[in-house]
């Protein structure tokens, strides 16, 4: 039994690790696979490809767009959801089932499906809206909802928001003061979790941006790899590591507060 378990864990570890290793080798070693032999394993490593990408103006534009989308999506998520989640929890718990249902809905309308509906409605009525890359922001907020709302909701429950609310209320604080000065400082963990999940979504989303012909980091990556396979691979690895880093920071911040980054559940 124990041997089987160890074998299982090792195999799974290899499955997760080897593709990344292969990716790093392809990205940073300028020896084609055909010519690769055990003796040549240490030859020709360099990170010049990646450095060159950083100087590419198109890459810089796409990165700036993606970073702006990320920040805007996080801000919009928190502005829309934080007060609402807090008030539902402390003042209108009967709305909780409804909120859970609504925030799950974006799940059944994936990007590649919604893009068709968006093209059908917005393109005819408000064509200027889709012209700007910032039009992606509301949709990214929407797809992050199942995760971001759950993260905030879990945070509110874990701090016992209603008790805090009632205590502050008795002492004469207004609802606004309670949210800003009592709940938010206690919810940093949940806020980080919601932000991190939104950020990861923005950095990875491809279908919607590509089909609306927007240049973001993922769409640039797909295009770039076709002309520059090696540098494209290096860039993809860098983006992967960046995403991992962002999520890793979120997990650490949560663990410090005794929480876990959980997946959205039904």
């Amino acid at each position: 039994m124990k041997v089987l378990r160890t074998i299982f864990l090792i195999l799974l570890g290899l499955y997760f690790f080897v593709p990344l290793l292969a990716m790093a080798r392809f990205a940073f070693q300028s020896v084609p696979v055909v010519l690769l032999t055990p003796e040549k394993l240490l030859e020709g490593w360099s990170i010049s490809g990646l450095i060159e990408v950083f100087g590419n103006p198109e890459f810089q534009r796409a990165t700036i767009v993606s970073l702006q989308l990320m920040v805007l999506a996080i801000v919009l998520t928190l502005v829309l959801l934080l007060p609402l989640a807090a008030l539902v929890e402390i003042r209108a718990p009967q709305l909780r089932t409804l909120m859970t249902a609504i925030t799950l809905l974006p799940w059944v309308v994936p990007p590649v499906a919604l893009v068709v509906g968006v093209a059908a409605t917005f393109r005819n009525t408000v064509p200027w809206f889709l012209a700007s890359p910032y039009s992606l922001v509301p949709f990214y907020v929407l797809w992050a909802l199942p995760f971001s709302y759950r993260a905030l909701d879990a945070g509110l429950r874990s701090i016992g928001a209603r008790t805090l609310y009632e205590a502050a209320r008795v002492m004469g604080a207004s609802t606004f003061t309670i949210i800003v000065r009592v709940l938010v400082p206690n919810m940093i963990g949940a806020i980080i979790a919601a932000s991190v999940l939104t950020a990861a979504l923005v950095l990875g989303e491809f279908a919607f941006a590509a089909l609306l012909l927007k240049e973001t980091l993922p769409t640039f990556m797909a295009e770039f790899q076709r002309s520059e396979p090696r540098a494209g691979m290096a860039l993809a690895l860098a983006v992967m590591l960046l995403t991992a880093l962002i999520i890793g920071i979120g997990v650490r911040a949560l663990r410090k507060r005794g929480m876990d980054l959980q997946a959205a559940g039904v």
Partner: protein, 283 residues
């Protein structure tokens, strides 16, 4: 009875509902209307054509891909959670798997497809190593752009996702319950059947749905591995980009409406199953 909500809740709920209405409901309703009015007048021809011929094949392929990767990923993810539960010794292992799962569950898309191409594509390192060991991978019928290739890549985010879903439930199984069961004379099999399983099933079902929707909708990975694959997301792209042909747009609306209905139906099905099993666990 009339429910009254206080002003503050209404003030923050209205922008949110307007937001969801504008960016989710409006486009979906818009495309639903267009799907049922092909060529400008009411009719079912587009909805009909969307599940015929090559489009039917795409739906079947997508369903098979989603179901296979959900079930395999679900079982492996559950197994991972269970095998870590009783593992005490290397202390770092548990927290590493925890963090790594949170990361890998989000690592779909373009970079993931590249990683697998570098590993087991026709020019991949593993392909080369296997070739040196005498096993010709491309010759064996395996290809990253085919069904099992896509399943193998999808598992990369499916397994960690299921692990994240199952961890709270698996962690909730108390060792004392197994001891209590064995003292009362239950075999380990009986303990799993009557105690552990009923407690795990609701989370497992929810996880399966998450995985199913996740892989049915996955676009970027499949797009890189095989842009011409006969699966629904790529068919939608094909129709959307080739919309110069009149009438093809109606078809895209219909395919999307079928997709949304399908995913919504699976969401409802799982919710019902979960409620049932929750009762079963309570009895």
């Amino acid at each position: 009875m009339r429910r009254r909500f206080d002003t503050a809740t209404v003030i923050v709920a209205v922008p949110f509902l307007a937001f969801v209405g504008l960016f989710l409901f409006l486009p979906v309703i818009g495309l639903a209307i267009k799907a049922f009015t092909p060529g400008g007048s009411f009719g079912f021809s587009a909805m009909q054509r969307a599940i015929e011929g090559s489009y039917r094949t795409a739906f079947i392929n997508s369903l098979a891909l989603a179901a296979t990767s959900a079930i395999l990923g679900g079982l492996l993810g559950l197994l991972l959670a269970l095998s870590l539960r009783s593992l005490q010794r290397p202390k770092w292992l548990r927290s590493t798997v925890d963090s790594w799962s949170a990361v890998a569950a989000q690592l779909g898309g373009i970079p993931l497809a590249f990683a697998f191409i570098a590993a087991i594509g026709t020019q991949g390192v593993i392909t080369k190593v296997l070739g040196l060991a005498g096993f010709d991978l491309p010759d064996s019928g395996f290809s990253l752009s085919e069904f099992w290739g896509l399943v193998l890549v999808y598992l990369y985010f499916q397994i960690p996702l299921m692990f994240l879903v199952m961890m709270p439930a698996v962690g909730g199984l108390k060792n004392t319950w197994a001891e209590a069961a064995s003292i009362m004379g239950a075999s380990p099999g009986r303990y799993w059947r009557s105690v552990a399983l009923p407690l795990l099933v609701p989370s497992f079902l929810g996880g399966l749905l998450l995985l199913f929707v996740n892989s049915f909708a996955a676009y970027a990975t499949a797009y890189v591995l095989n842009p011409g694959a006969q699966i629904v997301p790529l068919q939608i792209r094909f129709l959307l980009q080739g919309n110069v042909i009149t009438g093809e747009q109606d078809l895209a609306y219909a395919i999307v409406l079928w997709t949304i209905s399908l995913l919504l139906a699976s969401l409802l099905l799982i919710a019902i199953l979960q409620r049932r099993t929750a009762k079963w666990a309570a009895t």
